[in-house]
């Protein structure tokens, strides 16, 4: 157990320490997501009824696109600074590296979401700070980051790598986006957590399936 979780935390801690020093990743995702929502409000003229209609989608599209940018950066830094080789030389299995990287990315994304939800509540005049909503958001972020981490390890090695990750990730992440948007919309309309059961169950199933499969496949994506 220790030999599994300790290296995992070490890999994640490496990314967190780097982030604490530079604050590059969280800042850029945060500003991007904020900008995306602001641009959206120009597109639909924010009367209260319209906000109620399009707000869940807007917020999740912003998080999705911001997330793709974030995942891209996480492996690009490793690759460009040559630290990927160092990571590969570590005496741990590939799935530990995967889960460590995933943990880092997941924490950054969740932090951005937690910081932005109150801001969006104020801007769009909606009570977004809700524990049930946060639970759905965390589940969605985990699934999204799970596939995103695997795909960014692939995309970073291809030509035109900035555009490759969204092209790979967005179709696979369709269930996450649908479930997150639908659950958010229903919860804000006053549905109980039990009533949106199918959506968080879908997210849960997605998370389990893709975390396991991705952890298993990650080694093939890294091998030089």
């Amino acid at each position: 157990m220790r030999s599994f979780f300790l290296p995992l935390l070490v890999v994640a801690w490496k990314d967190i320490r780097l982030e604490l020093r530079t604050r590059e990743l969280v800042t850029s995702i945060l500003v991007f997501a904020l900008l995306a929502v602001i641009i959206f409000t120009f597109a639909f003229d924010p009367t209260p009824e319209r906000v109620a209609l399009v707000m869940p989608g807007t917020v999740w599209v912003a998080f999705t696109f911001a997330g793709t940018l974030g995942f891209n950066r996480s492996f690009m830094l490793e690759k460009d600074r040559g630290s990927l080789e160092g990571l590969l030389l570590c005496p741990v299995t590939r799935d530990v590296i995967y889960l460590g990287k995933l943990l880092g990315v997941f924490l950054f994304m969740s932090l951005v979401e937690l910081l932005l939800l109150p801001v969006f509540s104020a801007l769009l005049n909606f009570p977004l700070l809700d524990l049930r909503l946060i639970a759905v958001a965390l589940l969605a972020t985990l699934g999204f980051a799970g596939v995103g981490t695997l795909f960014s390890a692939i995309a970073v090695n291809t030509r035109s790598r900035e555009i490759m990750l969204p092209i790979l990730l967005l179709p696979v992440a369709v269930p996450v986006v649908i479930a997150a948007v639908e659950a958010t919309g229903a919860l804000l309309e006053g549905a109980s957590f039990g009533e949106v059961r199918r959506w968080w169950q879908l997210l849960l199933a997605y998370d389990v399936v893709f975390l396991v499969v991705s952890a298993f496949l990650f080694g093939f994506a890294l091998e030089e």
Binding site: T158, V172, V174, Y206, F220, A221
Partner: protein, 263 residues
Amino acid sequence: MRHDAPAAPKAGRQAPRAALAASRAPGSWGGAGRGDAVGPHGLILVVSTLVTADLALIFLWVPTETLAMGVVQRIFYFHVPLAWVGFLAFGVVFVASILFLWRGGRRWDALAHASAEVGVVFTTLMLFSGSTWAKPVWGVWWTWDPRLTTSLILWLLYVAYLMVRAYAPTPAQAARYAAVLGTISFIDVPIVYFSVVWWRNIHPEIIVGPTAQPGSLEPEMLVTLLFSLLTFTLLFAYLLWERVRLREAEDAVRSLRGLERSE
């Protein structure tokens, strides 16, 4: 043109095939060698006959649907087989990808690559034929019905798959990345389908009118459909075989180039 040398002498016509066979790495499908014996020519003949018979069935034999759609219903005998072959092709990609990751070997990679490309061709035509059928029958080119949406996502998944293959720096990396994607994408398809079904159940269907296929197929229609399915499956087999052969020629050229450079 790179080749300004005179054309090969008549006697040497079989030479490139022999050369291909000689330069091929062990563990390939060996399509080209076999091709001279039974070859694509035999298969072409079978597929051509079936296609002609299929068209005759569709256009001359099967009765016109008279309840709702009229002649345009005949698209159905193309559309359904195109969809079936699309799924079949991506299923082949999935199995070949897993075998490649598990056992290794360029032949599985070649099969997955070929099947993905042929599958994208079929899926593109499936989307086109479905859309063209929907316009006169539903009055719109597209609706976000679960099956349509899933097909579109399916198409996008495998276009991305082919893009990664094209943009990977080395063939070895292309093979590994593609195998990872071929596995993930196929697992994703049922999850996408269920999520879209639930999503559409929440929003009421906007399009009304005579929906989808007639509830029960007349026997002639069923026979035509089954024959069409067989025809398209064999057409897929032929195209897949051609594509695998092409891929092996590409590999042979690459390895010969490497050999030349190393000498």
